[in-house]
């Protein structure tokens, strides 16, 4: 690289922050070697960084207050929260649309199966459009407040 390439203010800061390619880093060091005032100014920026870290790094070790820990928790997506609420209503009210009519554990059930109550995250559950409970569940889902 050309050592005579003009050194910019931006490069001097990049030198402070270690964001220069190694070769240019050394060229800037040589440039500063004969400019003690500039070197002093840039060293003070390095000291400034160290002082800022010293002042604020202790925050990293603080226990998280509830009001920031809670919003950071994983949440299930909104459509599963509503679907879960709708399912709870449908199952409790014995909605026939889910194929529960005539279901007896063990005995021949003509293929009728009880669907899993827990929705698998990767699948959508199709809701048959017949029973009152199902319509109530959909109404509940539509009018659920945002969480």
């Amino acid at each position: 690289m050309n050592k005579n390439l003009a050194v910019t203010e931006a490069e001097l800061h990049a030198w402070v922050d270690g964001q220069l390619p190694a070769v240019r880093q050394r060229e800037i060091e040589a440039y500063l070697g004969v400019r003690p005032e500039e070197l002093r100014r840039l060293e003070s920026y390095r000291a400034q960084k160290r002082e800022l870290r010293a002042l604020f790094d202790s925050v990293l070790d603080e226990a998280l207050p509830q009001r920031v820990a809670l919003p950071a928790r994983p949440r299930s997506p909104w459509y599963l929260q509503r679907l879960a609420a709708g399912l709870a209503i449908a199952v409790i009210s014995g909605a026939t649309g889910w194929g529960l009519r005539g279901y007896r554990p063990g005995a021949g059930n003509d293929g009728a199966r009880m669907p899993a109550v827990e929705p698998a995250p990767s699948t959508l559950i199709r809701v048959p459009a017949s029973s009152f409970a199902q319509r109530a569940a959909v109404a509940h889902a539509d009018y659920s407040p945002d969480v």
């Binding site: 800061h13 870290r53 002042l55 604020f56 920031v68 919003p71 997506p77």
Partner: protein, 170 residues
């Protein structure tokens, strides 16, 4: 679900940055709480976010700019177009040396944000530019001004070095 985990991962660093911006614990945690809630509103975008840190820091920055929370102190906006003024009072009196938090609070908000992102997070300039939605050249000029202003405040100089000077008439 890795993005969900990422949110909790970044909370301590968001708190550190917010503490430096706000100067006190309550206002700082206000910012973090607002930032996390806003991040959830935009959760449909997470799968497309390459750099979660820059994205979260940019939300925090934009919330501050939008003034979602009314500032508790009356503030005057100072930006790059504000002429540089000497920090020393007239009559030749020297400024008392400020502590670092007080000096930080005297920086224009864009300069302060950039100085802190680089000092606390070692953020690459391209990431700072992305977080703030400004060109890298603007990042560099504000970084330079911010650092120099902070240095002058801490060293109680009468005026910044090598920047546009507004001279006191004696």
């Amino acid at each position: 679900m890795s993005h969900n985990q990422d949110l909790l991962t970044w909370v301590p660093r968001l708190r550190r940055y917010a503490r430096a911006l706000a100067g006190n614990r309550d206002d700082a945690d206000d910012k973090v709480q607002d930032t996390l809630e806003r991040a959830w509103v935009k959760s449909s975008l997470w799968h497309g976010v390459a750099d979660m840190r820059a994205w979260l820091f940019s939300i925090m920055h934009n919330l501050h700019v939008d003034g979602r929370r009314r500032p508790k102190l009356h503030t005057v906006t100072v930006d790059d177009d504000t002429p540089e003024v000497p920090v020393a009072p007239t009559q030749g009196e020297r400024l008392a040396v400020l502590d670092l938090q007080a000096a930080l609070d005297l920086l224009p908000s864009e300069q302060k944000a950039i100085v802190l992102m680089v000092a606390l997070e070692d953020m690459a300039y391209a990431d700072v530019a992305r977080a703030l939605g400004i060109p890298i050249g603007t990042v560099m000029s504000r970084l330079s001004r911010g650092r120099e202003r902070l240095r002058c405040l801490m060293e109680a100089r009468e005026q910044p070095v090598r920047l546009t000077v507004v001279r006191n008439t004696p």
